[in-house]
């Protein structure tokens, strides 16, 4: 049985790993800070589970190996563009090998809150060599589906202000674009969005309009995910007692 969603590495991959089949699905949600990625993933997960899929979730800088080091380094002022990028790549590799690949092997749907494209966008804005950034992530697996939550900075600003507020890093204060937090945020997030839009073209992201209300965005995301899953080969989803259960058909929303 040949899979309709064969996996491939972005670059050299991980040559020391034995080849294993990865029947799961890697679905990435990309988008800038404050766009609502995690809210949407919180809603996608129970939906997919009700549909009979085992779901695992992974998030940027969440690796047990690196997360403390990254927060510590961000608290100090020691990081350069190079060390920043390498730390993110290490965090990514740790999650790839310890979370993403094992989940895919077990047939899970992996919902990734950000992926290598976040590093591509940020590094371009920070002025790192773009070819070098892409080389670093040569170890990555190419996702099956990338959903990009697109928003303009004008819509983003009130959401962030009403939400958790503007933070130092999300405002790009480390780039010294402006001494004013608000100006810097506006400038930095506009540049990030421009990068994401270029990446969306290059890598064929599915762009979802994130200016809409939460439930509309969710409906859109579900439609794209359901469409992808119908095209992809049905997978056997292991149930709690270890017996494989047949895949369920997906409702059309």
């Amino acid at each position: 049985m040949r899979s309709k969603h064969p996996k491939r590495w972005y670059g050299h991959g991980l040559p020391y790993l034995k080849e294993k089949s990865l029947p799961g699905h890697l679905i990435v949600i990309e988008g800038t800070d404050g766009v609502g990625r995690s809210t949407q993933i919180d809603l996608l997960r129970p939906w997919l589970e009700l549909e009979g899929y085992a779901v695992s979730r992974t998030g940027w800088t969440r690796s047990p190996l690196l997360s403390e080091t990254i927060s510590e380094a961000k608290a100090g002022h020691q990081l350069t563009v190079t060390t920043f990028s390498l730390l993110y790549a290490a965090d990514f590799a740790d999650r790839l090998e310890h979370e993403i690949l094992p989940s895919l092997q077990a047939g899970f749907i992996v919902l990734a809150d950000r992926y290598m494209y976040t590093a591509f966008a940020r590094n371009n804005v920070m002025g790192a060599d773009p070819a070098w950034t892409r080389d670093l992530f040569g170890v990555a697996l190419v996702p099956d589906l990338v959903l990009y939550l697109d928003v303009d900075v004008e819509t983003l600003i009130p959401r962030v202000v009403h939400g958790k507020g503007m933070d130092y890093w999300e405002s790009g204060m480390h780039l010294a674009l402006s001494t004013d937090l608000f100006d810097s945020f506006q400038h930095y997030q506009s540049r990030l969005t421009a990068e994401y839009r270029k990446l969306a073209q290059e890598f064929g992201f599915v762009t979802v309009d994130a200016r809409a209300p939460i439930d509309e965005i969710q409906t859109d995301l579900r439609k794209h995910i359901a469409g992808y899953l119908r095209r992809a080969e049905p997978v056997s989803v292991p149930s709690a007692d270890g017996e494989p259960v047949p895949p369920l058909s997906l409702r059309k929303d």
Partner: protein, 207 residues
């Protein structure tokens, strides 16, 4: 040490930097090693973070100030060791492409049996990663060391050719070794003396 002292005695401004010595990733490295969480890729990337940090804070400023930097190991250690663990040779070269090319690379070469003897004479047992226990070549640390380090040495020899290292036979008496590479150093230093104001880079590589 001897080289550093020799250079200082001759009035050269010298700075020494070791491998895996920055504070930035110390916690992750310790945790990764203790809990055996490291994969060949994360092992490689953490060392790259450490190196990039030292390059920025410890290597580049003294070079720009016209000093001589002695580096105990350099990117080539990663090219040999990480590839022996299984990462792609082109990938690891790309990861380190931000590094400066040293002006001189001294390669202290010893056969495996000699390094094993020296290490075991100095301390009770081999370190887990140094013996390549994570690669799973043998459950016996000494045997694993032999197998893993032979692989590393073979790759080192290849890297030595690729990057034109100056090889020092490290089985010889120490004074003989020192006389040997001091000659090479003197040639480099003649250039250094000439263009002292411009800032010249020096690095030493040992396995």
């Amino acid at each position: 040490m001897l080289l550093e002292r020799w250079l200082r005695a001759r009035g050269y401004p010298v700075l020494f930097t070791g491998w895996n010595s920055s504070r930035l990733v110390r916690r992750s490295m310790r945790r990764g090693k203790k809990k055996n969480l490291l994969t060949p890729t994360t092992f490689s990337l953490l060392h790259a973070v450490d190196f990039a940090d030292r390059l920025t804070y410890q290597i580049l400023p003294p070079l720009k100030a016209g000093m001589i930097v002695l580096a105990d190991r350099y990117v080539y250690t990663a090219f040999a060791r990480d590839v022996a663990r299984g990462v792609d040779p082109d990938w690891v070269r790309a990861v380190y492409s931000f590094a400066l090319r040293p002006d001189l690379t001294l390669y202290f070469r010893v056969p495996i049996e000699v390094s094993l003897e020296r290490l075991l004479a100095g301390r009770a047992k081999l370190k887990y990663h140094e013996a390549g226990m994570d690669v799973g070549l043998s459950p016996d640390p000494v045997e694993s060391f032999r197998l893993f380090q032979s692989r590393v040495l073979e790759i080192y020899d290849h890297v030595a050719g690729e990057f034109a290292f100056h090889t020092v036979d490290a089985t010889r008496e120490i004074p003989v070794q020192q006389r040997g590479f001091r000659r090479v150093m003197q040639e480099i230093l003649r250039d250094y003396d000439k263009q002292r104001s411009k800032g010249v880079r020096h690095a030493v590589q040992a396995p």
